[in-house]
Assembly symmetry: C2
Homo-oligomer: 149 residues x 2
DNA sequence: ATGAAAATGAAACCCATTTTCATATTTGAA
DNA sequence: TTCAAATATGAAAATGGGTTTCATTTTCAT
């Protein structure tokens, strides 16, 4: 598995500064398996640097998303959630299972390998047909979790 | 292809009234291939009944989504978009290609058949493993469209 | 060190969606 | 039919995640 460059190098490549705020946000994302909202991240960031602003967190997340080291999700609970893009994550590429009642999110990667092969193929065909440059994809399953039956 | 019950029957089955507002919203969704926002729908609804309120449109959409005749999407442009669920639509089940620049959405169903087989299989395995009752899924490809290159 | 460019935080703002509440419509029991 | 309870509706106000503004601070190249 080819590991891509770290976020620090990505930032300088894009010509953007490697600030402590950004480092804090990147570390928080690196250290969790969860799907944190901007405010979740802000709360943790304040533990590290009490003077950090929520706005700065939003700005870091937007930047990271734009340059592809973070993936932004909407799971339907009214706030965006973020995780490191798979290339930059410890974890493997994975997809999601979402409870429409309690909004619990489960990562799964058991079947992703087969999915990815098909996605690759589909991606190629779609790119050609619609002249799209495809950057990434999502697969979400929605349903009712054990607990919410 | 097994066609499921119409939305009218669905409503009465759920014990909810078949009002003209709801009919207007259902018809608008039935008559388009597009991915309309609540306000898009409201604007069209006013053409039919100038006294209808935006709130009522939101309420109808929430109801329809809850009972499964409408699927609500977030394509990342800050407002929810709605389409009839595939069982209730003329169109076949399809997936989406989204331009992250101009937010254009393309339906595709060329490759969905193969995707669906795999999804079915995955769905079954995930249901079992995580004790989830899976209701539906989405597959979205994100990229840059021809026009936004 | 020094000035320009980039980044930051607080407050104000935006805007899609939800809530409230008073009014209207529907339903079905009497 | 009639009438009261249950439901649905519209306008206005409230909510809340996210963005913009702007004055200040930090960083970087010279
Ligand atoms: Mn995940
Ligand atoms: Mn569609
Ligand atoms: Zn649940
Ligand atoms: Zn585009």
């Amino acid at each position: 598995m080819m590991e891509s460059a770290g976020w620090q190098e990505q930032l300088s490549r894009v010509g953007v500064r490697l600030t402590t705020s950004r480092e804090i946000v990147a570390n928080i994302l690196h250290d969790t398996q969860r799907h944190l909202s901007a405010e979740d991240i802000f709360i943790r960031a304040v533990q590290v640097n009490p003077s950090i602003g929520l706005t700065t967190v939003y700005r870091a997340l937007e930047l990271f998303t734009d340059i592809g080291i973070v993936q932004k999700f909407d799971f339907g609970d009214g706030k965006a959630r973020y995780e490191l893009a798979s290339d930059h994550h410890n974890a493997e590429h994975h997809h999601h299972l979402i409870c429409i009642k309690c909004k619990k999110i489960i990562n799964y990667d058991d079947f992703v390998q087969e999915e990815l092969e098909l996605m690759k193929k589909t991606e190629k065909a779609l790119s050609k047909k619609h002249h799209f440059k495809i950057m990434h994809h999502i697969i979400h399953f929605y349903g009712i979790c054990e607990h919410c039956r």
